[in-house]
């Protein structure tokens, strides 16, 4: 695991919006990603960013805002409109010694790049027996909740977690976003980096002088003792809201943010389930053959005698992502999470 050496001056040249050295400030998740990208680009001239509309426009979500102005068109590339091309050329650039960061504009557009991701990006290190490294990050804004048209609200992370050779992470908050993007860029393996697009505007206090947690580690984000909630990406906020509401009912829910989806870091989950005996998994993605399937299987393997109830899942349905006027029904919310907690506790 290569947590980057923290550059204490990272962001110092990042313009007015960046924090001064060691100074905490409140930033939204999208801005934290922008600051993290900037810090990584300042630290290593081999870091380049490529994607559609990421230059002058700064990306449709403005995650790369200002980067082309400051780092030039050779390090922030507005690419032709083809995702296989973005990832396929990133593979070649990585072979040349660059550390490309690809932006896929929306989750549903990652599929044209799927071939390059699973056939080349994921396998070159293995095929070459370690001679060829693929330090490529593929950023994917994912998940629903923004009232978008189809192909703009999907949760495709499980496809990539299923593929050996890729690492898959999902950030859930501004602090993680800032650190995790830098750590993903510093990693010598390809990293699929999922960003919870509906949480881009949620704010938290970020201290660039803090010491980051390792990238491929889960974290208990709210301790509790009655039942365990496990979530990642946009559903961490939902799980935390559910835990806060459950407190009123006298339930103490522990919430764990997976952060890394491949490899999974499940020891904190096992520890928690051994204490609570109840586990509810929460994700936007459909349930079948998913991250939540994998966690459920592993928990029953490791915590069989600790479970007081079957592992329950609250997820998107096994349907295509519906028209957006249905998405409030489709997406797990606080009530569905608490309903599952109640069913688990009543088992």
């Amino acid at each position: 695991m290569a947590a980057p050496t923290v550059n204490r001056t990272a962001g110092a040249a990042a313009g007015a919006a960046s924090p001064a050295v060691g100074q905490a400030q409140t930033v939204p998740l999208g801005k934290a990603l922008n600051m993290g990208l900037r810090a990584a680009m300042e630290r290593d001239p081999k870091v380049i960013v490529l994607g559609e509309d990421i230059g002058k426009l700064g990306g449709v979500f403005r995650i790369t805002d200002g980067l082309q102005k400051d780092f030039g068109e050779q390090r922030v590339l507005d690419t032709p409109l083809a995702e296989s091309g973005i990832v396929g050329t990133a593979v070649g650039l990585a072979l040349r010694g660059f550390r490309p960061v690809c932006e896929i504009q929306f989750d549903g557009f990652v599929f044209p790049a799927f071939d390059q991701i699973v056939s080349q990006l994921a396998k070159l290190h293995y095929r070459s027996q370690g001679v060829l490294k693929m330090p490529v990050v593929v950023r994917v804004p994912f998940g629903g909740g923004i009232g978008a048209v189809e192909h703009h609200s999907e949760s495709p992370e499980s496809y990539f977690a299923h593929c050996a050779g890729l690492k898959v992470v999902a950030c859930s908050n501004p602090v993680d976003a800032y650190w995790m993007i830098q750590q993903a860029i510093a990693c010598d393996d390809p990293v699929m980096f999922f960003e919870p697009k509906r949480r881009y505007w949620e704010k938290a206090e970020l201290d660039p002088a803090a010491t980051p947690q390792p990238l491929f580690a889960s974290r208990v984000v709210r301790p509790g003792s009655t039942a365990t909630l496990v979530a990642y990406g946009p559903m961490v906020r939902t799980a935390l809201d559910a835990a806060a509401a459950a407190e009123d009912d006298g339930h103490s829910l522990e919430v764990i943010d997976l952060r890394s989806l491949s490899p999974l870091d499940l020891d904190p989950v096992f520890d928690s389930v051994r204490r609570t005996g109840h586990l509810v998994l929460v994700a936007e993605a459909p349930a079948e053959a998913s991250i939540t399937s994998e966690v459920a299987a592993r928990v029953q393997q490791e915590c069989f005698y600790s479970l007081e109830a079957p592992v329950l899942r609250v997820t998107g349905f096994d349907t295509p992502y519906p028209p957006s006027k249905c998405e409030e029904e489709y997406l797990p919310d606080l009530d569905r999470v608490l309903d599952a907690v109640d069913r688990s506790l009543a088992y």
């Binding site: 990832v87 396929g88 070649g92 072979l95 040349r96 010694g97 027996q129 370690g130 490899p263």
Partner: protein
């Protein structure tokens, strides 16, 4: 040779006007073997005829000594010998599969000998001749087809990327690499770097090849797209891939496209050298279509008798890439019997060494399954490895 020609390096580039392709052959024409008699069209660049006569071309010329020709002849004979030996090893059960090179020796040796050490080559999976030119020993190719590795050479040290089996993927990887050469400031003079990517006529239908051409064009990448049009994509003839001659597609991307006689090692050398020079001096990309013929099956698993006629093959045998060099050298007194005997002896030695190496390749152990999945170890994969190796250990002393 009446068509518009590519101007020499450095001048403004015109591309052959897109003319209608000669109509796709009818079923009757195919049955009559007429496909085999097409000469590649008016724009074909040729410097050595199938009869071994040197001919001039107004734009592409190459100065070669007798020693150079002997070298190309030796290259082609040796790589053909390794290729035939590998084919036999598959038939004898020593290889799972082989991908024959037969017939494409000139297309590859010509291109391969045009490369400079600082250049990078991205092969498909039939580029045994390019491997040879990059200093990759033919034995290093065997592991892929025997199942002991997935590419044993070091792409960084050889300037020869691993074989790419998914059709067309490598065109984008090469485009990215070539963009990197430019970003690194290695393009712009005669000492600059260039990249060449190899693919076939079938691959030209792939999106990644199209995207690779778009990327290379808009980023001015120093990339030679080298299409070996061997007329067949397994069982599908060229007319299932294209309406226009493939080299003319370059016009749509805004860079020059040239069709070269792929069975003429001198023409392939001259055109590729020019194309690489264009790229390293900043005038890339360039498309080269080497018009050739796959004289053997697609792979050892293929059966061409189901989809093409023997007389097509017989017609192409008359255009053999090696024979025309031999005839030329003999006629011009550039090589005597001693030379040909020497190459033959060398081929025999290579064949023996190649066979010995193949049959003695050790199988990888189970730990190979888990090695190098990641650069930074993944705990779940490590746990699976440890568990499986412990399972093996549990049979210690037994036959497992």
């Amino acid at each position: 040779m009446s068509s518009p020609q590519q101007p020499p390096h450095g001048e403004a580039l015109a591309v052959g006007a897109p003319t209608a392709t000669s109509a796709a052959p009818t079923a009757q024409q195919v049955i009559a073997g007429l496909r085999a008699t097409t000469e590649g069209g008016d724009d074909l660049v040729q410097l050595l005829t199938p009869e071994g006569e040197r001919v001039q071309h107004p734009q592409f010329e190459v100065d070669v000594t007798a020693e150079d020709l002997q070298g190309f002849y030796r290259d082609m004979v040796l790589i053909r010998r390794a290729d035939r030996e590998a084919n036999a090893l598959q038939r004898q059960g020593q290889l799972g599969i082989w991908v024959p090179l037969l017939g494409q020796e000139a297309a590859q040796i010509g291109a391969g000998r045009a490369l400079k050490p600082q250049d990078m080559a991205f092969p498909s999976y039939r580029e045994h001749g390019i491997a040879w030119c990059r200093g990759v020993d033919p034995t290093a190719l065997l592991g892929i087809f025997r199942g002991t590795d997935q590419g044993s050479w070091n792409p960084k040290e050889t300037g020869f990327h691993l074989y790419t089996i998914v059709i067309g993927n490598q065109c984008l990887n090469a485009a990215g690499y070539a963009m990197g050469q430019r970003f690194d400031g290695k393009v712009g003079d005669a000492d600059g770097e260039a990249t060449i990517v190899f693919f076939g006529d079938g691959a030209t239908s792939q999106g990644d090849v199209h995207e690779g051409m778009v990327w290379a064009a808009v980023y001015d990448a120093p990339l030679v797209f080298y299409c070996q049009n061997n007329q067949w994509a397994i069982s599908e003839p060229l007319e299932r891939q294209t309406r226009v001659p493939l080299y003319q597609r370059a016009r749509g991307y805004g860079f020059p496209g040239i069709r070269v006689d792929g069975n003429d090692v001198l023409a392939c050398l001259a055109v590729t050298r020019w194309a690489l020079e264009e790229c390293r001096t900043g005038n890339g990309p360039v498309l080269v279509e080497a018009y050739t013929y796959r004289m053997d099956a697609h792979t050892t698993s293929d059966d061409p008798t189901r989809y093409r006629l023997m007389d097509e093959l017989e017609a192409w045998k008359l255009k053999d890439p090696i024979e025309r060099v031999r005839v030329h050298m003999v006629r011009e007194g550039m090589a005597g019997q001693d030379f040909f005997d020497g190459v033959q002896a060398e081929a025999d030695e290579l064949a023996e060494r190649f066979r010995d190496f193949c049959v003695n390749m050790p199988n990888p152990g189970p730990e190979r399954i888990f090695a190098n999945v990641y650069a930074e170890e993944s705990p779940p994969v490590a746990a699976q490895r440890d568990g499986y190796l412990a399972y093996h250990e549990s049979f210690a002393g037994g036959e497992h």
